[in-house]
């Protein structure tokens, strides 16, 4: 069984809306397909098999060009295009109304597409081989920075379209609690727009004028501080849409209900409040940031684990509620009663399991001096493959397994292949990430062609071999899921006349109308967020901006 169909959808998207969201997915999956191609090549290089020389005739000139494409396409493009498309569905279905200004959202989307194409050209021409963190003074083509800017601005514009839709709905429904999936989507977008102020300042204020030759030098430390203002909340921009599904949709797919409406909303508000003011935990070993401020951000980073732990409880309780409705019994026996034959559910359950390990590893990253052991080692990509490449990507794949049938009115092609794909990816990820974490603890640096490194001791080789093996399995798994999605989208066979795949929207056990109004009011939370960001970042931003010494010239990669 793949997806449940209904004859009476609660609220159907129009043909134009479905086409518009579908276009987001076309770009998202194209990016994922190309970006993932480089994954096994990196993993196999670590295992001693460098296939990059064979790619030279296709214009890929180095491991690092491949790594840049892998990071930009998978972590930035796949995520941003999928998220804006998916949240459009959540907004329309949540509010059960049309977008307020569809033209505005379309303008935002095409801005993203123009930005993507603008950045893709230098990336493919090896003129922007600066990895997805683009640290100066290593300089990329101006078009790369401009393109990234347009992708971000386009996503903002789509967000403004969501806000306008909310205001229209609010005017018509002054007393109603905001429907949960729309509420959570709005918070995701607002958090994103606050978070991206950092990278906007970095690109517009420092990188663009410098790369165009308007300024001669740049301050690499200040640039890092701006970058990481955005860099960590970026992770929450990826994660929160998966949470929209885990809290607001997945329970419905397992015949359950959202366990606690109030606490789900509280978790989202805490993510808005705490996602941004903690970026220095990516700069624990930077020389230009005082240790005291690093410690303050370490405290704040620990506090953002609280809403994550809250999520862990609520999501599992919601799943258990559903499993027991389905006849599940026993303390853990209910797990077997979940609909594991549904690839959409299984993908998201496996995403959640991997994220438990990702969360635990994240605690180590965030733990101030513990970071000395693992900073910039293979541990770090081992960690974020459990977050963005598992919790996020596997959830988005799972969502696509109902979303594409929803958008196209076509049944999912080969659910068994879909299931095999997500399980293969899961097993590959366990092997890969475990080996990456371990070899990182032994001292292996990240972002390095270890096959060429003179310092690799024999004891790393077993782990590096497992990196290659696990990474290859992951590629096979993800390709299987992409094929399922693509064939579903373009196949001829349609759902039977009059049947639809509805957006799964979970009810909550308690009536959302009883949720206190302070959990549905923007003002206190926005003010709190602004105050916290100013307190956590203000003094250091003032200090680093006014103490800027722009001494680094442009240096080619």
């Amino acid at each position: 069984m793949a997806e449940t169909t209904t004859k009476t959808p609660v609220y159907a998207l129009t043909r134009e809306e479905r086409r518009f969201v579908g276009l987001h997915l076309v770009f998202a999956f194209a990016a994922l397909t190309i970006g993932s191609l480089f994954g096994p090549l990196q993993a196999l290089e670590h295992a001693g098999l460098d296939l990059y020389p064979t790619l030279e005739k296709f214009g890929i000139q180095s491991y690092y060009q491949g790594l840049t494409l892998h990071g930009v396409l998978n972590a930035l493009v796949w995520t941003t295009f999928f998220i804006t498309g998916f949240l459009t569905v959540a907004i329309i279905r949540g509010f059960q109304r049309r977008l307020a200004y569809p033209g505005l959202n379309q303008f935002g989307f095409w801005t993203m597409v123009v930005g993507l194409l603008m950045a893709a050209v230098p990336l493919l021409l090896n003129k922007a081989t600066v990895l997805f963190t683009f640290y100066p003074p290593m300089q990329a083509s101006t078009w790369f920075y401009l393109g990234l800017t347009l992708v971000v601005v386009g996503s903002w514009i789509e967000g403004w379209g969501f806000y306008a839709t909310y205001w229209q709905w609010r005017k018509d429904n002054p007393k109603t609690r905001t429907p949960f999936i729309a509420f959570a989507s709005l918070i995701t977008m607002v958090m994103w727009q606050i978070a991206t102020l950092g990278v906007a300042a970095e690109i517009l204020g420092l990188l663009l004028p410098w790369s165009m030759g308007l300024t001669d030098g740049i301050d690499p430390q200040l640039s890092r501080t701006f970058f990481w203002f955005t860099g960590h909340p970026l992770v929450y921009f990826w994660l929160l849409p998966a949470y929209v599904s885990w809290y607001g949709m997945l329970p419905k797919q397992v015949d359950g209900k959202l366990f606690s409406d109030s606490l789900a909303r509280l978790a989202f508000w805490l993510f808005l409040l705490l996602s941004v003011p903690l970026g220095f935990h990516h700069q624990f070993v930077d020389p230009g940031v005082p240790a005291g401020w690093k410690y303050v951000h370490a405290i704040l980073t620990f506090s953002v684990f609280f809403p994550s732990l809250l999520t862990f409880f609520t999501v599992i309780a919601s799943l258990e509620y559903g499993a027991r409705q389905r006849g599940g019994k026993g303390r853990f026996g209910w797990i077997r009663a979940l609909p594991w034959s549904n690839p959409s559910v299984t993908a998201q359950l496996l995403a959640g399991i991997l994220f438990v390990f990702g969360g635990i590893g994240g605690l180590a990253n965030a733990a101030y001096n513990v970071n000395l052991v693992l900073h910039n080692t293979a541990w770090v990509p081992g960690h974020f493959h459990l977050t963005v490449a598992s919790a996020v990507t596997l959830s988005f794949i799972g969502i696509s397994f109902w979303l594409v049938p929803h958008l196209t009115h076509k049944p999912l092609w080969q659910p068994k292949v879909a299931l095999a794909g997500v399980w293969t990816y899961f097993v590959g990820m366990l092997i890969f990430s475990n080996a990456m974490h371990t070899v990182g603890l032994l001292g292996a640096p990240r972002r390095t062609t270890l096959g060429l490194a003179p310092y690799v001791p024999a004891e790393w080789s077993g782990y590096l071999w497992r990196v290659g093996f696990g990474g290859s399995l992951m590629w096979i798994g993800i390709m299987a899921t992409i094929v399922v999605v693509a064939v579903t989208a373009f196949r001829k066979k349609e759902l039977p006349e009059g049947e639809f795949v509805d957006v799964p929207v979970a009810e909550s056990i308690e009536d959302p109308q009883r949720t206190p109004v302070w959990l549905d009011s923007w003002k206190p939370w926005l003010v709190g967020t602004a105050v916290l960001v100013l307190l956590a970042y203000g003094p250091q931003l003032i200090d680093q901006i006014f103490g800027m010494s722009a001494t680094s010239p442009r240096i080619a990669p």
Binding site: P137, V289, Q513
Partner: protein, 166 residues
């Protein structure tokens, strides 16, 4: 109670979970704090700024390498990071001495990780990174560049040889 009375329903199990979560995070945080401020395992802090374009011509980096402050007890090591090597790439210090590393970059961003120690920091042009360690065992400790700095990044490495006390 009417159906529209506002309230937060918190399941007793969930309440216990929330309390346990807070306690767990407090314990972890206390451990980090004790390690940092009582046992002295610290992250780098702001040291000083230099001009990356001229730093290699001015003391102390005009003569990078080891400085003996107190023989057998205290040493300072000045290291320049540049594409694609460290200067110096061989360092020798005695076992048991406190060794303080000062590292900066003359070009792009690099990393400096001294294997099997707590010394691991960025080498950023314009900034000086500083951390100290004491080697308890004689042996060879490689240091490697941990930030992508260009095509030759993987070969950027050196080694500290820790000798038996004289």
């Amino acid at each position: 109670m009417s159906a529209t009375t506002e309230h937060i329903h918190i399941d007793p199990t969930e309440k216990r979970w929330m309390i346990a979560s807070v306690i767990l995070l407090l314990i972890f945080f206390a451990a980090v704090t004790v390690a940092g401020f009582m046992l002295g395992i610290q992250v780098p802090t702001r040291e000083r700024r230099v001009d990356p374009n001229t730093v290699a011509e001015q003391p102390p980096w005009s003569e990078p390498g080891v400085r003996e402050i107190v023989p057998g007890e205290e040493y300072e090591v000045y290291v320049l990071a540049h594409r694609f090597s460290f200067t110096p790439n061989e360092i020798e210090v005695p076992v048991g001495a406190k060794v303080t590393f000062y590292v900066t970059s003359t070009d792009v961003q690099h990393g400096f990780k001294l294997q099997d120690t707590n010394i691991n920091f960025m080498a950023i042009p314009g900034q000086v990174s500083k951390l100290s360690t004491t080697f308890d065992e004689p042996g060879v400790y490689p240091y490697v560049c941990t930030e992508y700095c260009g095509l030759g990044h993987a070969v950027m490495a050196g080694a500290v040889t820790v000798t038996e006390a004289p």
